[in-house]
Amino acid sequence: MYVAVKGGEAAILNSYRLVAEQRRGDPRQPELTVMQIREQLKLSVDRVMTEGSVYDPELAALAIKQASGDLVEAIFLLRAYRATLPRLGSTCPIDTSRMELVRRISATFKDLPGGQVLGPTYDYTQRLLDFTLLAQGEPSAIDPAVARPVVQEPIPRVVDLLNQEGLIETFPPPSDDPSPPDLTREPLRFPANRATRLQNLARGDEGFLLAMAYSTQRGYSHSHPFVGDIRLGRASIEIIPEELGFPISIGDIELTECEMVNQFGGSKTEPPQFTRGYGLAFGHSERKAMAMSLVDRALRAGELGEPVESPAQMEEFVLSHSDSLESSGFVQHLKLPHYVDFQSELELVRKMRAEAGRSRISDAEDA
């Protein structure tokens, strides 16, 4: 007689063993170290830190190793770790005009204070497979002076330059500088304020934000964006300890910032001026920061009196579906057994088919 499947525990333990084997790959090959991942897969590490909401390259690299390179899984590991950490306090707002820049570009002015600094980017590489890497060859030596241009002096942001003419909206910090809500401690409620939205987008899945941002460029809401500033560099993190009463630096973090400048036709009360969309990510995460800034601007439709018609403008649609943990978990929960629900549906379909059959017979008799 058939007996319901048992032995889940043994199966789970076996799956641990198999996934460990799969992660290790061919044991004749040397094992990857966490430090190698941290140093050589930097862009993966940066994405995992950004969406994992933890700035710790070593733990992000560990998560990537443990997840066999599955970045969404690595983000999950880092978030679960983060959930148990205490919140010790809030940092002071970061002044990105004082970042130590390795890259800064603007698409709005050919030249501007601080200049255009290309820095490390794949943008102008020709995407040809480099077979010297396959042959474990060393890339040709680069003059060390050229390799690391670092801009130390403060460089004003394009939005600040435009503001001198009053051409762009400004966001002065509120007088008492209230702490923003913390999405990792309080649930998302609608309508959400902009601080909450930005926090959600910063943690949001890069692929989702990219698609949402792309949709705004293809007619699903128009914002006529221009890249005001993209900055990559290190910024100092400061806190004001209660017992000291003045800011002290607790270290630097690498950031990518994108200020998007968008058209705005004006309204009855406001003359036409440029509006802004904002993106910020840990490490070098340019695609993410740009997508975030476009979606941020699209989500401001209601505030700016624009019609809310497209998915990227709909706060509940975007914010409720941006999180990779939530979406990945719920999509994949369909793998769990649904015997009971399916049994109920089976009964229903049979009942409806039986009824349909009966009514066909009675129709035929009537005819």
Binding site: A83, T84, P337, Y339, E345, L348
Partner: protein, 299 residues
């Protein structure tokens, strides 16, 4: 903020998974969840938002139930975890292992012996008693989400007790099919006030919620909501006078224990599509097969 009882977690005593706190969550988080639970108990059927944490298990796999269990479990508890009625399905095994590792509490498969029962998609067949807590894993706490996806709207509808949307949906089922075509996650009215999702239990289980002596807690981790049905609270499945709520019935009986009063899962046993029905509730089925004598002997 922290008192002596807070830091005095029993993890040292159990010696299990010493790197994490008792039941994984830190004490402040547990207290936050308990406050949400108290509010939920005070307003039966009302969805209380809470600061759901990222658990080491994926969203959609029971994180809401796990957080509720973690917030209420103590070292003296006996925990039972079921999925689809069974203690042996992989997800139930996994969640039970999680609590064994992080709390060291004793677990059980016996419904009557358990003080806490975490469940996905079923209510046990054996009647529950006072002092027991049944914790449901909830995927979609908002019963009207499929009719109105905007939470800002459904919140207003609940506030005004404006449930026309739901009644129209059920009415349209009757107009189209001659009966209500919802078989699981069948909406209920709690304490004559809030319409509530009972989680995707089959509607067969709905009547068990009504005036149940046990405390029923519902956790939705991904959607960050907790709600509750306190003991002996009225829970009515929606229906119409001329089309009252009714539950599923089988022409078959359980092939293992012969029960004709339990929810039966259908199994396909060969390539020719031969079918067999067995109890979905593995503990109920086992108790019936062991017979009353062995049951007493075991105790």
């Amino acid at each position: 903020m922290s008192s002596a009882t807070d830091s005095d977690s029993p993890q040292q005593a159990s010696g299990i998974a010493p790197e994490v706190n008792f039941a994984y969550l830190d004490e402040r988080t547990k207290r936050m969840i308990r406050r949400a639970i108290l509010k939920a108990v005070a307003i039966p059927g009302y969805q209380v938002p809470f600061g759901s944490r990222e658990m080491p298990l994926p969203y959609g796999w029971g994180t809401g139930g796990i957080q509720v269990t973690a917030a209420v479990i103590g070292p003296a508890d006996r925990l039972k975890v079921i999925d689809q009625g069974s203690d042996d399905t992989v997800n139930a095994v996994n969640i039970r292992r999680f609590f064994e590792r992080t709390t060291g509490v004793r677990t059980t498969t016996d419904t009557r012996e358990a003080t806490l029962i975490q469940t996905r998609h079923r209510i046990p067949e054996k009647p529950l008693s006072e002092g027991q807590i049944l914790i449901y894993q909830v995927p979609v706490p908002e019963p009207m989400q499929r009719l109105e996806p905007r939470e800002s709207e459904t919140r207003t509808l609940h506030g005004l007790a404006e449930y026309g949307l739901m009644h129209v949906k059920l009415y349209e089922d009757i107009a189209r099919y001659g009966h209500i075509a919802t078989t699981y996650d069948y909406p209920v009215l709690v304490n004559d006030r809030y319409i509530m999702s009972p989680s995707p239990i089959p509607k067969f289980d709905n009547p068990k919620m009504d005036r149940n002596p046990a405390l029923q807690l519902f956790g939705a981790g991904r959607e960050k909501r907790i709600y509750a049905v306190p003991p002996y609270t009225r829970v009515a499945s929606l229906g119409f006078e001329d089309h009252p709520f009714e539950i599923q019935r089988w022409s078959a009986v359980c092939a293992l224990c012969g029960a004709n009063d339990s929810f039966l899962d259908e199994m396909i046993t060969d390539d020719a599509g031969t079918r067999l029905h067995v109890c979905s509730d593995s503990d109920y089925c086992k108790t019936r097969r062991d017979g009353p004598e062995q049951q007493e002997h075991a105790q």
